[in-house]
Amino acid sequence: MTEVSVAKEDVAATGELVVLKSVNKHFGALHVLQDIDLTIARGEVVVVIGPSGSGKSTLCRTINRLETIDSGDIAIDGKPLPEEGKALARLRADVGMVFQSFNLFAHKTVLENVMLGQIKVRKADKKAAEEKARALLDRVGVATQADKYPAQLSGGQQQRVAIARALAMDPKVMLFDEPTSALDPEMINEVLEVMQQLARDGMTMIVVTHEMGFARSAANRVVFMADGRIVEEAVPDQFFSNPRSDRAKDFLSKILHH
């Protein structure tokens, strides 16, 4: 993989990039997010872990309003999340998202997938968009697949294309919603490596995952969620070696020793 320098925001322009304040959400009777307070600083990599149904994916999806919230406030780069319409679309362009099921546009080639947002949202001209798309595909290691359709790629390749598609928008922050959960075991690492590189390059990332190895090596902070609440926040070393809450101890004992 060749290096392409990331269009990186000045990290020194400090501050809080993503702020969630007492966010609540219900799915019917289920209180899926309960008084969530979370602040993510520029350049920070936050990994959200927790048992299934703990609300971590929902949390991730509220940040670009793919899920609406019932109460509370979410702000990105100091601006509150718009309700609907063009303002919301503009904000989403600044928030990259990578899905569990890749969701590459099935009727477009890999290259077109990475070019679409640049042309239609950023109004880039076609040539510049293609150049950038090819550079990004090269960066995630799938440059040779540019003219294929998503269905012709392996899961790992598709997910790396999805990361390139998100990066093409020069996002301020990247959301990863269980990016490796739908992958065959031997393909997980190729995706994690791309994410590690991204983290090293200073991208602000919120990663929902079950990959504890990634959490240990790439995260600045681990957020542990259970039953719709943030139960514990800590640096990875501290969290994995010395969790404070019983819920986290219980969770870790189930996943780390077998």
Binding site: F99, S101, F105, H107, K120, V121, A166
Partner: protein
């Protein structure tokens, strides 16, 4: 054996049928797509309109709709469709209008079932890169929906081709009107029917075969 065909412009009549079909097909594809967009859109008023339109129009017999364009729109309300003095053109345009109004309800529903085959994640990914609703629909969802409904659309198109015969009710000189005229004047009733039946099969059979092939060709692989 086919002497009875002499003196009749059979090809001309079928040409009118083809014109009716093609113009109505284009019109109903456009209006049907707009209706489908309304029905899946976020604006309640438009959703309501789309739903009401489809449910009313597809449940009215086509004959009633075609007669309404002539008796209602033209003779009562005075709509002239830009052809006030040319009776033939006027009726042709009124027939196209009626066929479009009717067929678009079926196009809309076929397309809507196609939209349902597009996984939710496709639209989510499109929204996540900052596309507006209209862009999500036109760039991501509809292209995939269309590819999955080529078969059903072929059905609609075949039905439309045959439905153009209803235009005879307001005097459009297409195939069915000529058939009626020939049946009155000639003795070979079965042969006349067979000739016209054959003519319609010649129009619709290739439609089905070609669109079936196209449907396979453009199908989205997931």
């Amino acid at each position: 054996m086919f002497d009875f065909l002499e003196g009749y412009d059979l090809l001309g009549a079928f040409w009118v049928t083809v014109q009716l079909t093609l113009l109505s097909a284009v019109g109903s594809l456009i209006w049907g797509t707009l209706l489908a967009a309304m029905r899946v859109g976020p604006v309640p008023l438009m959703r309501g309109f789309g739903t009401a339109y489809v449910n009313i129009v597809r449940n009215i017999p086509l004959t009633v709709i075609i007669l309404f364009t002539s008796l209602g729109l033209n003779q009562t309300l005075g709509a002239t469709m830009g052809a006030a003095n040319n009776f033939e053109t006027l009726n042709f345009r009124l027939a196209v209008l009626g066929l479009v109004a009717y067929t678009s309800a079926f196009v809309c529903e076929a397309l809507r079932s196609g939209i349902n085959t597009v996984p939710v994640g496709q639209a989510e990914a499109a929204r996540a890169i900052g596309l507006k609703f209209s862009q999500v629909l036109t760039l991501v969802v509809l292209p995939q929906a269309f590819r999955s409904v080529v078969g059903p659309m072929a059905n609609v198109l075949i039905a439309l081709t045959k439905n153009t015969t209803v235009a005879a009710a307001i005097g459009v000189a297409e195939a069915a009107l000529l058939m009626k005229e020939m049946i009155e004047n000639e003795a070979q009733l079965i042969l006349i029917s067979a000739v016209f039946a054959f003519g319609f099969v010649c129009l619709t059979l290739p439609t089905g075969l070609i669109l079936g092939w196209v449907g396979k060709k453009v199908a989205v692989k997931r």
